[in-house]
């Protein structure tokens, strides 16, 4: 009840929303699709701040060859 009718699911309350390590490929991979794209905010359930941090970290990891641009 409630959520079903109200469109987008609410953003998850993050415990730690201050720093995301770009060298931590294992954790970042959870925010990627099978093709290596970044999950949308809705899909990942991130708050705006978290999503920015995740996005930044993934792009840094891609540049350094830790994550791939495409799969």
């Amino acid at each position: 009840m409630g959520r079903q009718d109200k469109g987008a699911p609410r953003a998850k309350k993050a415990k730690e929303c201050h720093f995301i390590e770009y060298k931590d490929a294992g954790s970042l991979r959870r925010h990627l699709t099978g093709a290596g794209k970044i999950h949308s905010r809705k899909r990942a359930g991130n708050c705006a701040k978290c999503q920015r941090l995740v996005q930044q970290a993934i792009k840094r990891a891609r540049f350094m060859g830790i994550l791939s641009y495409t799969n």
């Binding site: 201050h18 390590e21 490929a25 294992g26 954790s27 899909r43 060859g65």
Partner: protein, 193 residues
Amino acid sequence: MSDTATETPAEAEAPTSPENRVLQQGKLARHLTHERVLPQLSPEIEGKTRLYELCLLFDPAEATRTWDALVEWIKTELIETKYEQHVLRVDKWADTRKLAYEIQGLKRGTYMVVWFRSEPGKLVDLERDLRLDERCIRHLVISHDFEPPGVGKTAEDFDQKAEEERGERERERGERGDRGDRGGDRGRRDRRF
């Protein structure tokens, strides 16, 4: 940290360091409880410099042969002598790690992570030097407001952590078992994100 023994460390480093100012701000102060590994410099230096992380990618063949020379080059020749800034820590983050994609024909790479404090203006020149040098294949400089957790961890530490987490998740899933046919109307199944 303090020059005189009578001062307590908290008093000595609190006011001028930008890092401390960040750590004392409301929510952050409560959340960032990780251990700080990097050495602290005197308040005057910390007041006018920022904390940077420099990640470098090298050809593993070259790096294993001349690792000490490379460290010497980055640390002493460039940052400390040429630009007179302060290196806090140099780590070998990964030794011949498989790259996610080929870079300049290389399939594997060796990563070095350098933590240093520098005046912001000096970075442009440092980056130009790194770009021009042929030994360094890729570099990335990141400015940090505060010392993040995980300083000094290597790629293996991260991989191990990821492995453990995956194991945990799988165990959890196993315990809950098959959820079976939930039956009934499952709502808007065509919804896409």
